[in-house]
Symmetry: C3
Subunit: 471 residues, 3 copies
């Protein structure tokens, strides 16, 4: 049995002088409210406020960070709660938890381990590291906890100290969960939708035409023309804004943003509806759509989040058997400065426009993102994301970005998570690393401790509120 | 009021053992003479030796490092002393200084802050951090200082301990300022011109034909043919060398260097003069010109500095309103190993040829620049430059370059600055970081302190003198 | 005279708390047996067990790490024991050693210096740093040592504590040295061949047809057809496996792996034998061959090592005068995720298939290699290699790879060396840096010291044995 005791100094520098500074900085922000302006929790979770069911379904199966490392160690996805080819799942929650517990050492040194340790200890009160020996007992303990009222979504929302939680939503979503939640007098949290129009950008995608139909229904606007699609998106953006949205999110293969003349876009739109779009035209249409989304942001002020450069579903057999988001989305080479030229020429100095850039290719931190954020008032350097959301990578981000963009043009932390119970752990990790980074600047006399305290506070409050226009 | 007191240990490691070593190493080089072999100060400044006028015109407006961060925070360039569309500037020096003072916190953690703190404190004697409250008083204090003889360019040259200062000059420049300065018995400093022929490389540039005309006048050689252009450049290189130049500088979009046969180059030259050059031909001509400049360096021994990979004037509206060098030159993906193959095949082991490579894409440090400098006797790894001229990036440069190229194949520090009064601060930053880096090697027993002392001394003296053939 | 005394704490952190942890971790693995699953020592060396001759021929001339830095400092390769254009070498061993000794400072801060210090001190008992003053005396001392029985290859094999040593061999090699060594009752070490089929992949290479002939002889299979080539390779893989091989190795310009239909490959094969292959066809054929090698690995279970992205023989005049492996192989931009898609779609989750990825472009650590190893059970993140085999780069590797792949999906250290006597120094360096890295995780409370001890032990034993299927 190994005691699970997250250390109060974890992630702080070990040199005593620096550690003391980091402790003081962290103490100022450790309990600050959580702004989570970018994530994948479902608003309905908070609306319904039902008890979470199975611990494995909460903690393992939906979290691709966890799945991928277990899979890499040879555990089949079937054994982790995923169902193959739409058939019934073949593994019980208890069996899935056991798989995790057996492979606990696998996560040593990874951020997943940090999150899990904080979450299991701080949220669920586990006192031992998971292992084959205690797997059943811990599973039972988690089941018991999740049955208690204190572990319902709203109770946790309050306990976690979440001030703002943004979800990610399709433009065709009627936002009924969000609207009901806003109307519910028993819930005082701010849960905001985020407008993510990825499905409407690539006219060669198999689902494009169906998505247009759904959008037409949601917006009550005919989307069989390109002009109609733009109009429908505008209608839905307004509806999102009315429901509290302050931002959009866009994931595309690349950041190309060359606009098309309207007649050219109309022709491609029509071709695509007839199933006759060429791949060149599809790419041109997608890049034009990115430009149009920026244009809309410059009009309505919804903050544009952009994260290009992820190759989705790299392993075709896994996609075919288990569907998307199963651990094999992989980073591509990133690029921003050249492909974003049309958007930045048009809106880069427009005070209404705001663009937050995320990457999974860390070479772009010092080469592209920080230099762009260090000139364009509209551009913000998004927090380290996905494969780069780890103590070591957050440190590299700060070192690479601060030189050219300082602190105020960084976005503040985003957790980007589907794992609701990991939200506090993720923000805590970021706060600890930022405290450590600032302590290193203080200890080397680059900034004073007073300045560092002010920056630490701004990083968890003013900076995310400003960046994402949260008020 | 916050006291401005640059700490004597700034940028040194905080671990006491390492810090002591860093202090000892730094003490050996803190007051060493400054070799500044690459910069943008105007020789006429030292020839005329007039008092600097307005502090903002000296410290803010011409420095794109400062402009870009203020602009990124939403300050219009109009408010920073730049004039729009050639009209009169709309902001007084006092107002510009106030803008800087109000946004002082913006620079926290950036190298600009380090330079400013040293410069304002050590050169100008300011004792408080700039702020809205003290902006007027500090502005007045700076005005007073600049009116004193001790703040004239020559007095500062001596006070700064500058041994060699290289400027950057067009081949058509008659070098009259340099020649007069050399002839002036009252000035004993070494101020050297640097031959920068960028204007003559791209025959599709709008200014190319006019530049050829001016060059023809300066060289007294007809440049309407390609052969004539090469001859004129050779004439001017000889004139530069006679005026003390030891180096050339070249900034191009990429490092492609495939030579053309003379008839092909002549044809493109003629086409371009008729305004009929294709973009493919223009690129081929430019890359051939890079090869020819290397060939000339292999003949006359002027050290070739090369810094490809900067996208100039990314924001067209700002270029159009305010002109170039206004903060939106941005890094491109870098490449050296493949594009430089023709030059290195031809001259890579020629003892007369010397090539110093600079980059704004730090991925090339370990992948391209250090491996090239670690084989070719002609190639030197240029100091971290522009976006990478910061404590954190200098550290990454040393860590990435030393493995494959050691210390002796690095160039020594270059400040590349237009901000005359920041020269000592910039060299001081570099010396501190190098001392800290060497201390880390000593403290981990990779080298001895005696070896580190020897390296520290060579880095500020023998290495720049050797690299740039300063004698 | 400077004493050569490698410090017992070298490469450990200087912060006393971290250093103590690193010492304890290192103590556990300092004397562990050496697994060297990837290198370039000749099996015949151990079969013949003759005394090494000249020290320079052992320590300088064959080691491109050493050659390249001396050459970069202006020492001609003629002076380092290489012969020009096949003529007799013009420098004596004594003169070559003197060149090294004179330039000893050149290696300060490089891994070559670390290896040399350990090797000269620990293996050869030198007690002074090489210098011009002691060059002759040290050369004599080395000659004396090498004449002693204790310095014969087998005695050193035992003294070095080598458990497994893998060589690199052409498929046409008859493996007679390996077979004789296995049959020799006086030698108990495990020396394993590695199947490296690079010569058969590019049908446009000048040596391709001759290589096919030799392979046909070795395999007793007609290789004039593509099907025959595949059959011959399979025959030789079986022979390698029978001689103890557990792995293959492949170095290609890029990792492209698109398979061809058999008739297309046959046509290109036939075209190439007639000397009529196009460059496009040659590339397609090479990429198909990479796929076929993966396919064979998925069948016979030989671990596939892949290291794309090296530009061989960058300086044509040096290649022409001195041949390959003379210090001017240079890193190219790396890529894995996209080019390996065909192989990973086909075999990525096949339990028989195993793929170890090496790179000289460190940007791929966090962007490609770790994410691939963190999903695909077949993929392992190869140790930092060649230009990245240094303390600083090993540290960056661990920081970049651990987040997404943990420790268990890394390969364990490989020395990749031709320099037999540097093997212990190279493994020692890796063990020290891993101990220091693990100590940093312990000191920042990311893992416990018990966990770190377990990882340190696995990194030098279980992990290389598992990765390379050494049993």
């Amino acid at each position: 049995m190994t005691l699970l005791q997250p250390h109060p100094d974890r992630l702080f520098p070990s040199e005593p002088g620096q550690r003391d500074i980091a402790r003081r900085l962290y103490a100022e922000v450790a309990h600050a409210a959580i702004y989570s302006p970018h994530g994948h929790v479902d608003a309905r979770l908070l609306l319904d406020d039902e008890p979470f069911g199975d611990p494995a379904e909460l903690l393992v199966t939906p979290d691709h960070y966890v799945l991928r490392l277990l899979h890499a160690a040879g555990v089949p996805l079937d054994d982790l709660g995923l169902s193959r080819d739409g058939a019934a799942r073949t593994s019980s929650g208890r069996a899935v938890w056991r798989r995790l517990a057996e492979h606990w050492d696998l996560f040593l040194g990874t951020p997943v381990r940090f999150w899990f340790e904080s979450e299991l200890h701080d949220v669920f009160g586990l006192t031992e590291h998971p292992s084959a020996a205690n797997a059943d007992a811990q599973y039972d303990q988690l089941v018991d906890a999740l049955a208690r009222d204190a572990f319902r979504p709203r109770a946790l929302f309050e306990r976690f100290g979440i001030e703002v939680l943004a979800t990610t939503d399709d433009p065709a979503d009627d936002l009924s969960a969000h609207l009901a939640l806003r109307a519910d007098p028993r819930f005082r949290g701010r849960v905001l939708p985020t407008f993510r129009a990825d499905r409407y950008m690539d006219p060669s995608a198999a689902t494009w035409a169906d998505s247009l139909d759904r959008l037409a229904g949601a917006a009550d606007v005919d989307t069989t023309s390109y002009a109609g699609l733009l109009a429908a998106l505008r209608v839905r953006r307004a509806a999102f804004a009315a429901a509290g949205a302050t931002a959009t999110d866009t994931g595309v293969l690349d950041a190309g943003s060359t606009p098309l003349a309207a007649p050219d876009a109309e022709r491609i739109h029509a071709d695509a509806l007839r199933g006759m779009v060429t791949s060149e035209d599809a790419v041109a249409y997608r890049r034009n759509m990115l430009f149009r989304l920026a244009e809309m942001s410059a009009q309505d002020g919804l903050v544009m989040q952009l994260h290009p450069g992820v190759i989705r579903n790299h392993h075709a057999p896994t996609l075919s058997a288990f569907g998307p988001d199963t651990g094999h989305d992989l980073p591509d080479t990133g690029a921003f400065t050249r492909p974003l030229t049309p958007i930045l020429d048009a809106f880069g100095t427009d005070p209404t426009f705001r663009l937050v850039l995320f990457t999974v290719d860390e070479t772009t931190f010092s080469r592209e993102i920080a230099p762009l954020a260090g000139f364009y008032p509209s551009v913000y350097a998004g927090a380290p994301w996905w494969f780069l959301d780890s103590p070591a990578a957050i440190w590299r981000y700060r070192q690479a970005v601060t030189d050219s963009a300082g602190f105020t043009k960084t976005s503040g932390f985003i957790d980007d998570t589907r794992a609701y119970c990991s939200i506090p752990a993720r923000h805590d990790m970021s706060r600890r690393v930022d405290a450590a980074y600032l302590a290193s600047l203080v200890a080397t006399h680059q900034i004073t401790e007073d300045d560092a305290l002010a920056v630490a506070r701004r990083l968890v409050d003013e900076i995310p509120r400003t960046t994402f226009r949260l008020g």
